[in-house]
Symmetry: C2
Subunit: 585 residues, 2 copies
Amino acid sequence: MITLDDIHSTADIKRLDLAQLESLATPIRDALLEKLSHHGGHVGPNLGMVELTLALHYVLDLPTDKIVYDVSHQSYVHKMLTGRMEAFTDPKQYDSVTGFSNPAESDTDMFTIGHTSTGVSLAGGLATARNLRGENYRIAVIVGDGSLSGGEAFEGLDHAATLKGNFIVIVNDNQMSIAENHGGIYDNLQLLRETDGQAPCNLFKAMGFDYRYVAYGNDLSTLVKVLEDVKDTDRPIVLHVNTQKGKGYAPAEAERERFHFSAPFDRRSGARMQTPNALTYSEITASYLMQMIAEDPTVTVITAGTPGAIDFGPERRATAGSQFIDVGIAEQEAVALASGIAKGGGKPYFGVVSSFLQRAYDQLSQDLAINNSPAVIGIYYGSVFGMNDVTHLGWFDIALISNIPNIVYLAPTCLEEHLAMLDWAMKQNRYPVALRLPGGTLKETGRKYPADYSDLNAYMVGHRGDKVALIGAGTFYSLAEEAAAKLKESGIDATVINPRFLSGLDTQLLDELTLDHTVVATLEDGVLDGGFGEKIARYYGASDMKVLCYGLKKEFVDRYRVSELLETNRLTAPQIAADILKLVK
Amino acid sequence: MITLDDIHSTADIKRLDLAQLESLATPIRDALLEKLSHHGGHVGPNLGMVELTLALHYVLDLPTDKIVYDVSHQSYVHKMLTGRMEAFTDPKQYDSVTGFSNPAESDTDMFTIGHTSTGVSLAGGLATARNLRGENYRIAVIVGDGSLSGGEAFEGLDHAATLKGNFIVIVNDNQMSIAENHGGIYDNLQLLRETDGQAPCNLFKAMGFDYRYVAYGNDLSTLVKVLEDVKDTDRPIVLHVNTQKGKGYAPAEAERERFHFSAPFDRRSGARMQTPNALTYSEITASYLMQMIAEDPTVTVITAGTPGAIDFGPERRATAGSQFIDVGIAEQEAVALASGIAKGGGKPYFGVVSSFLQRAYDQLSQDLAINNSPAVIGIYYGSVFGMNDVTHLGWFDIALISNIPNIVYLAPTCLEEHLAMLDWAMKQNRYPVALRLPGGTLKETGRKYPADYSDLNAYMVGHRGDKVALIGAGTFYSLAEEAAAKLKESGIDATVINPRFLSGLDTQLLDELTLDHTVVATLEDGVLDGGFGEKIARYYGASDMKVLCYGLKKEFVDRYRVSELLETNRLTAPQIAADILKLVK
């Protein structure tokens, strides 16, 4: 009998007969569940992909042939079959692989991918290079039905349909995005499923692809047979495979949204190991927004396929009704839609994960900022305390947003200030406002904050001292306070400033500081390059003021430890105080 | 008889009978041609839209009903019908309107739009607001067939198909983008045209829209009839209208690419008023790339629907064959494709207009930079000397690109350096390289430049003086030289530095400067916020060096005069020298 211990590389898969191959599905699922219940990760997507991954490795010839996984959070089984089995069977090695495809781990991983809807484009590039070089390998790209809603996926498909040679797009249709799907195309996918792929009105054919439907996408022998049929296609084909998200694990089959990604859970019951702390910024924000929705019928909350990230679970979505809009994984649409809603007299709030907002730079600039539409963009996980995969870093949004004219970018320092700023943002009608939810655990200060932020770029002086001023933005305001406390030990009564605005300077205050301060330190929870502190440094450039900018170095890091990263970037209170003391003395 | 002088607002259109309405088409075309032949502008798109615009204004009730024009370069006739006729009939008033829709000009212009593929999303926002507010007006959005290739258009359509209530998407199918269309969807559009809209495989139906085809999109009575039929639809519909680009003007009907946008031309012959100067950076770049294509079969030049902007006209495209790829108006795809090509062993060059690259921030970060793919991105019009419409400003790319880790962003100062850098970029295999073509007229210095730029962030000292250092990036290196000449008059022998790299600091050189310099001025052809100079200011923040950063203020300006803008931003040599002298003395 074949066990997982026998599988060291994709070649070991190809040696098996079909029955042996089928016998692997159960131990693979078992290992996945064992790891994920203890470690957390993407549960549903991987359980649904067991048979499809086995079939692909069985039929294709890796590493000559290439498989690209869109988003690649569904590539766990691929990792198990390509020399990384122990990362799933040996608890000590659970962290030896990332949660996404990673060329540093294996030559069968083509790209580091973590954002949605990029796979077809990247794989299309491989096909183009292959053709230019006169090579001849097969290329398969797996893209989920949810990912089809992203504009890059469309652009990728539209171009890929014109490619010469072998190109197999496998649409892994599990009838779910992270949550349910939204968008006109999903009716067509349903029609295709209901007609066993026979409906003449076919999105993929309309885009120029050959097409084949597989109703039983968790049936290994069917998959092997179909893949054998199409593997040598000499033109682009879509293989539309109907799979079951969470397949083989009852709780994940039942609660598909919750098990898309799960923190550690009890394997028997499916229950979370710890109850999530109800008091988070996003939870309280969602609660405030629900109240706004109830009070004002023109208030709309928008998500781009990540309702969970903004704590709009099924219940809130049902209550909000048409005042909650999920546009699909389509941040471009979300920003432009918000601008249009504001122009039409509605009051839109688009809540978005920092890293994913990167997909909408031009929409922030053109659709929103140039039109000066008073929409509100709530930025989640925009912090070193956010997600730590290299593909999900939440550090670049200050540089992304604050250098676009017209957008007011606010950085609250605690819950009370966050709610005050949010309320102002939602009720004003003059500016596009971006609001950066603080990172880390909820911080309640009990302080009272102003209700009005229309005096743009007016910083708030938390404590007035002299000689040294610490300007701590957002989450790092408390770091400024800590550094000030450290300086106090050396007899320096530092001024502590909450800039509140990431998008502009309080030049009056900065000028005042020159009278009795010699050092200004800026602290921001983001990358230094293009960020907040550099603007202060530029402003003081021709003066005698010494400026120290604290923030993150411009680099990609993967799965960092917060404490190490902070230390490396001299983002601890003792380090900051020590640097400043050198300048003061 | 009705003349253009009788049309002061859309209400004047609605008073006409159909024959009177039809009689307007000829004088409108005549006025368009008269203005455009003298003034330049989008010729083909507007000639093709005369009847459709008349019909829309006749059938809909503006300003209650709303029309959104995607890209809006085809909204000239709309402007003529909404109180701005003189801007097209009175040469003195030609410049009284912008070339795009503009709410500041008329309440019938809903948004300032200049980028492609945004219209459906913005109009969808209006529809959402309308529904939330319980209002009831009609909404039409006109989107060209070329614009459908952009991801935001897809996202907009996918979501719009789920909207409640009236929503009319008019696909203005003139069988052209700026140049010919590329992408799988265009076969379906052709099929629909060939079957008079009857083919069962229908992209728009597959996306969830009702659908109607209009074969004679330049026939006013047909258009009026169809619009009357569908104007009160209570759900989203696509009206697929077959129009002729350049309709009614033989040279524009024949040369559709050249007359998409044209500089002033001789109305009788269609010939350009002046022969374009053959010696431009883009022309010479194209010529170099053609040579590379001939020498190396893996070299690929990519455009996202703007081959003309990179001087790849029909002849070069034909010669390049499969080594030239037009992905449609799809910058996301272009960047990801380039990354995939590089990963697969090809050598991609993606040439893109600065402002349009904004659509691909996330792809630069995720698809390209994280994967460290050695693709080359050539940035065109990234300069104050580039395009001056508010929607096309080429000033934001330094902040956009240079703050992303791993990307090497080079700024050549003249032709010789540009070619040296380009050649290095194309032949190296280690870095994603962005290359900013200099702005303004071609500058040949006759100087020799190094062939190797792999010593990252090594600045070049053009002249070694003391006290003052001028660091002039790219196009503004010559401004640094001019300012140095000015300073010379006051007895200061300033150091002049060409940083070459926008994405990093030469810290060794910067440290050396502190020995015998007291002032450093940075000069960049871009917005200051998030730009190059701020990084220098940050680096010197804790030192005694005085830093002055020169560049553009963070703001949106429309149709500026370069000389005024430079003066306002103190970007002239005398101003810079005067500022510096104040600091030195």
